[in-house]
């Protein structure tokens, strides 16, 4: 519980040892999925370089993993850590929302 609060109140700056564990569920190479992969990759490279693990899961290939994580909407990005877990549906083109939910403080980078 304590960790959750501390994470929330103190957004992680790039370079922090946050250990991002991300899972992206996609459906083959369909347009939405392809876009989502490109978007999250670029976000990770830009803001979380060297501090993340991104796993791309094709639910057609590994449906049991989708089951385990209760994935309905696709593409779906799940932030397993740092806690709290966050889920985002869509092709991740809305960068602002994605960063917000990944608890990345964008202003700190530019400012």
């Amino acid at each position: 519980m304590a960790s959750k609060i501390s994470v929330k109140s103190k957004p992680i700056k790039p370079g922090d040892n946050g250990n991002y564990d991300l899972r992206l569920f996609v459906t083959g190479a369909l347009p939405n999925s392809a876009r989502a992969i490109i978007n999250i990759s670029s976000i990770c490279e830009k803001y979380l370089k060297g501090n993340y693990k991104l796993e791309v899961i094709d639910i057609y290939q590994q449906p049991e993993l989708a089951l385990a994580d209760d994935v309905i909407a696709v593409p779906m990005l799940i932030k397993k850590s740092p806690l709290p877990e966050a889920r985002m549906a869509g092709d991740l083109s809305d960068t602002k929302t994605v960063l917000e939910n990944l608890l990345i403080d964008d202003s700190k980078i530019h400012g």
């Binding site: 989502a36 309905i72 779906m76 990005l77 966050a86 889920r87 549906a89 869509g90 929302t97």
Partner: protein, 517 residues
């Protein structure tokens, strides 16, 4: 007769030539009759209704009946309830879901839709659901699937996604060749708001809970069913310990049996009035009369004679408790108690206000299916009439009589009418035109003596007597006799003339008095 035959033959050839949409039987009492076979096979059906209407139960019955009755494996996808809760909830109506799951005939899938999941960051779809359903369908080779409910699934989705995904879901289910039921809230839900169900679903069924006179009735209506005929009315249905029953009509009417066999009324003189043979087997009989004219006694005598002939009888008492009927009838020589003990006589006793009229009939129908009686007595039918408008009652009774006729069950109603309204009682009029045999019992007052009389008002298909007979109830039962003895014979006409003359003379004397003044 030949005319009927050709018409029937025509109907059959027409039927054979016409393509019939394949159906998946629901196995729910009555529903398959209304749907003319069942739900459209391999297509999705939308089941709408407010909370507590029985959507989940009906959907569950569809799946379980598929497993038990038709050997079709099924999937139940719950978006709202937990697996364990669901299993517990339907245990009360005798469904052992755990066993079906073990036998690989049932797959319960619980899908949690997280509110937070709907943080949209761009375009998305619900392919994840399809993948899960595919897995489930493949694992047990499912033929039937239930999604309960759409509202929980699509909660929080934006309209654009909702609309396209909803459409995709339906066509996906069709592709998978599964017969599906998808439940959704009726009324102010997203479906109705956006008019989605109007064009997407091939079959729409609406469930409804209505309260009239403080009595709740559940009703079901088939809004549409593409490619198939279906009953269009609202049909009452009940949920009890055995699950759902819908009260059907219509389809049965074609198979009505019209027997030429006869059944004795149990009173020799009454049989004589009815062409010397009694009622037709499987006909409907009405006895109407004011209070205390002996309606219950006649029906009890009928029931007794049936039981003596070692046939079963169901006596539905809406006024007196069975014990009271038994005691009272003992006083006129009918030992009904022995009949109950030997199993030939069964009582159904319920206060009319206990539940809606239709539900009484559903309950009675279930008893009939169980004990298979050859005679059913309803005493008195008029007590039920307080429970709804007359038109409802009439249509309900018609359906009930239709049902009994298909089973070749003879039914006797009694109707209490109020003094002075013999001809004008609307409810009575409604029934009396419907029944095959109508008898009237009356109190007649003549020369400072009251006695009972009985006459046959109508009796279809036989030469019945037109006489008004005097009938007596004694310790040894019921006997009929000539109305008046020969010695003080006065016909209605002479009596009237006599009275007119007396009136004339009295008015004459009063005139005289005035003149003298």
């Amino acid at each position: 007769m030949p005319a009927i035959k050709t018409q029937k033959a025509l109907l059959q050839t027409k039927k054979a030539a016409r393509f019939k949409l394949p159906k998946a039987q629901t196995g729910i009492n009555g529903l398959d009759d209304i749907m003319f076979g069942g739900l459209p096979r391999d297509r999705p059906t939308l089941l709408l209704g407010e909370t507590g209407c029985g959507k989940t139960l009906m959907a569950m019955e569809f799946v379980v009946n598929g497993i038990v009755k038709y050997n079709e494996p099924g999937i139940f996808v719950a978006f709202e309830e937990k697996k364990e809760e669901l299993i517990m909830n339907v245990k009360s109506i005798g469904y052992d879901l755990e066993r079906h799951i073990k036998d690989k005939m049932l797959h319960l899938e619980q899908i949690q839709v997280n509110r937070q999941e709907i943080i949209a960051t761009g375009n998305y779809n619900i392919e994840g659901l399809f993948v899960r359903l595919s897995l489930a369908i493949k694992s047990i080779k499912a033929k039937r699937i239930v999604l309960d409910s759409l509202d929980a699934l699509f909660y929080g989705f934006d309209y654009k996604t909702l609309r396209s995904e909803f459409k995709r879901l339906f066509s996906w289910l069709k592709e998978k060749k599964v017969t599906a039921i998808i439940t959704a809230e009726n009324g102010d839900s997203f479906l109705m708001r956006h008019g989605l169900e109007e064009y997407l679903a091939d079959c729409v069924i609406v469930l409804d809970n209505r309260v009239t006179n403080q009595i709740v009735t559940r009703r079901l209506r088939i809004v549409k069913c593409r490619g198939s005929i279906h009953g269009i009315n609202e049909y009452p249905f009940s949920i009890d310990a055995k699950g759902i029953s819908v009260f059907p009509i219509g389809s049965e009417a074609l198979q009505l049996k019209s027997s030429s066999k006869r059944i004795s009324s149990g009173i020799q003189q009454l049989d004589e009035m009815l062409d010397n043979e009694g009622f037709y087997l499987g006909s409907s009989i009405l006895i109407s009369g004011t209070a205390g004219t002996g309606k219950t006694s006649i029906s009890a005598s009928f029931a007794h004679s049936i039981c003596v002939a070692k046939k079963r009888c169901l006596f539905c008492a809406f006024e007196e408790a069975p014990n009271q009927v038994i005691r009272n009838m003992k006083s006129i020589g009918f030992n009904l108690d022995a009949m109950v003990k030997s199993g030939y006589l069964t009582f159904y006793y319920a206060r009319p206000t206990l539940q809606n009229l239709e539900l009484h009939f559903i309950a009675i129908r279930e008893m009939i299916n169980e004990i298979k009686p050859s005679v059913v007595v309803l005493d008195p039918i008029t007590n039920l009439m307080t429970e709804g408008p007359n038109s409802d009652i009439r249509s309900m009774l018609t359906r009930f009589v239709d049902f009994l006729k298909t089973q070749e069950i003879t039914v006797m109603f009694t109707a209490a009418i109020t003094v002075g309204s013999i001809e004008r009682n609307p409810s009575d009029e409604g029934i009396s035109s419907m029944v095959d045999t109508w008898m009237m019992v009356q109190d007649i007052e003549m020369d400072s003596e009251r006695f009972r009389s009985l006459c046959v008002m109508k009796s279809r298909g036989m030469m019945h007597s037109n006489k008004v007979q005097r009938f007596e109830i004694s310790r040894r039962g019921i006997t009929l006799s000539q109305l008046v003895s020969a010695e003080n014979y006065t016909s209605a006409e002479t009596k009237r003339i006599d009275k007119e003359q007396r009136n004339l003379s009295t008015s004459g004397t009063s005139n005289l008095h005035e003149n003298s003044r």
